[in-house]
């Protein structure tokens, strides 16, 4: 669900390339090229997700296994240290409360990296036959002014946290193993951090254009290989 700022950067670059190809001779309006990209279904705006956790003392075992299973064999796991702020834009429209959630993520260990703005839609659990959660997702790389921009736009900061851990890749799949910390009140993220659990959060996700449901099956198979260390499941947190 949360992308190491680094991980989403990859996505940002890809979508940039898609727009680039439409350049030079006839400068279509960006809206037109976006519409055509939408129509040809090349924008990765669906996220397939499985979640689980591993207790602290076994995280090394899990990392060892992931190193063996994933693509980053040579350079080992990539580490990340991100700060995520969750905003929402709310209003009452003729009695119906409308909420538009937006998340901002930035890498604390790579200060010059762009910030990441993210919209995550409602998660669809589907029936038993669907192996993963699916939810719509829009990832946008952006400048550091995004925080102020959102606040002035009318967004409210709901909560924030830091995630520090490791990221692996396996084909199109991304696996993050991270420690979630509460940001100490009034402190810089990274100071006075407060762990919220004795476990690492483990997430397996893929961003793909809609209709790439086959990837969900690959994820199920991969999740199977991590048992019994981690049980990656589709979790409906709204019902917990």
């Amino acid at each position: 669900m949360h992308d190491g700022g680094k991980a989403t950067r990859v996505i940002g670059i890809r979508s940039a390339e898609q727009v680039l190809t439409k350049n030079m001779t006839t400068p279509d309006s960006a809206k037109d090229s976006l519409t055509s990209a939408l129509n040809s279904n090349i924008i990765p705006n669906r996220e397939y997700l499985l979640q689980g956790s591993v207790v602290d003392q076994y995280v090394e075992v899990l990392l060892h296994r992931l190193r063996g299973l994933c693509d980053n064999v040579d350079d080992g796991a990539e580490t990340f240290y991100d700060h995520e702020m969750c905003f929402s834009l709310c209003m009452n429209s003729s009695g119906n409360p409308l909420v538009f959630p937006l998340r901002v993520r930035r890498a604390l260990d790579a200060q010059d990296a762009p910030y990441q703005l993210r919209y995550i839609g409602q998660q669809e659990l589907g029936d038993k036959n669907r192996p993963t959660i699916v939810r719509s997702s829009i990832d946008v790389a952006c400048s550091a002014s995004i925080v102020e921009f959102l606040q002035e736009l009318g967004c409210r900061l709901d909560f924030e946290y830091t995630a520090r851990g490791y990221m692996f890749r396996k084909g199109r799949m991304k696996i993050t193993v991270s420690k979630i910390c509460k940001c100490g009140g009034g402190n810089k993220p990274g100071e006075n951090i407060e762990l919220i659990s004795q476990s690492y959060l483990v997430e397996l996700s893929v961003l793909a254009p809609s209709g790439y449901d086959a990837i969900a099956e690959d994820m199920r198979v991969f999740a199977e290989q991590l048992k019994p260390l981690v049980h990656l499941e589709k979790i409906d947190y709204k019902r917990l």
Partner: protein, 259 residues
């Protein structure tokens, strides 16, 4: 009436013969496998063959116990003529297993009782049982029971130990905790446990404290804009005071949108 019974008998016999032939070919196939493919034969295929045999046996016994099947026990086979001569027709029928219909073979083939050896053994045992004294028999039963309970004890003790061991091993495999998973997922998903503690007004307490940190670099330095030359640094310094001012402002502006 007679005719109908005969017809019934004939059809029953036909189907029995067919099942027996099925059984026979499967057994032959299995024997062939064991003899010729013992190097490549794997256990699952062997078991598959076994299942096939057992299926044939089941269907055979079904036919025998079927209502329509005449009671074969009530029918007799009467050998009318015995001959030491080789009988070609018989040989063909039996795949050259039986070539003559002679005195020495017929009693064995048409026998309906137990084998003579087994019959003898049974008779001996029954005789022995009848002659044993009552007390003696009681003693033997008691002794036997003692042995059985002893073995029973050993088995159940072993089982208990195994249960404990496996449950202990199950605990050791507790690499992840469902409650921790739920805690983490609700935290990153909905901010459960991460939201600022509401203060007296019921408003979220200054939630944005950490957010007010002046972002590194200046706002204009965006993605994909290429390298920013070193000259930027002087500008960042120029900008710093204004960034701080802005941040104080935005802190006060949070409240209108607080709930």
């Amino acid at each position: 009436m007679q005719q109908r019974e005969e017809k019934q008998l004939e059809s029953a016999l036909d189907s029995i013969i067919q099942r027996v032939n099925d059984l026979k070919t499967s057994i032959a196939a299995m024997i062939y496998k064991v003899e010729n493919e013992y190097e490549t034969l794997n256990w699952p295929t062997f078991l598959d063959n076994f299942a096939l045999l057992s299926g044939h046996l089941t269907s055979l016994s079904k036919i025998l116990s079927h209502d329509k099947c005449p009671v074969l026990r009530n029918l007799t086979v009467l050998p009318l003529m015995l001959s030491p001569e080789r009988d070609e027709q018989l040989a063909q029928l039996t795949e050259h297993r039986v070539t003559t219909f002679a005195h020495d073979l017929v009693p064995d083939y048409l026998r309906t009782k137990l084998e003579p050896l087994a019959e003898n053994k049974m008779m001996q045992l029954e005789h022995k049982a009848a002659t044993v004294a009552y007390e003696n028999a009681q003693k033997q039963v008691a002794a036997y029971q003692k042995v059985v309970t002893h073995i029973w004890d050993i088995v159940s003790k072993a089982r208990e130990e195994w249960d404990v061991e496996s449950s202990a091993r199950g605990n050791a495999q507790q690499h992840s905790s469902v409650s921790d998973t739920h805690l983490l997922v609700t935290a990153v998903g909905m901010g459960k446990g991460l939201k600022p503690v509401p203060n007296a007004n019921g408003q979220p307490g200054q939630p944005a404290g950490s957010m007010m940190v002046a972002p590194q670099g200046r706002p204009g330095s965006a993605s994909g804009q290429g390298q920013i030359p070193p000259a930027t640094q002087t500008m960042t310094m120029n900008k710093a005071p204004s960034a701080i001012k802005t941040n104080i402002k935005s802190a006060t502006q949070i409240h209108p949108y607080g709930r």
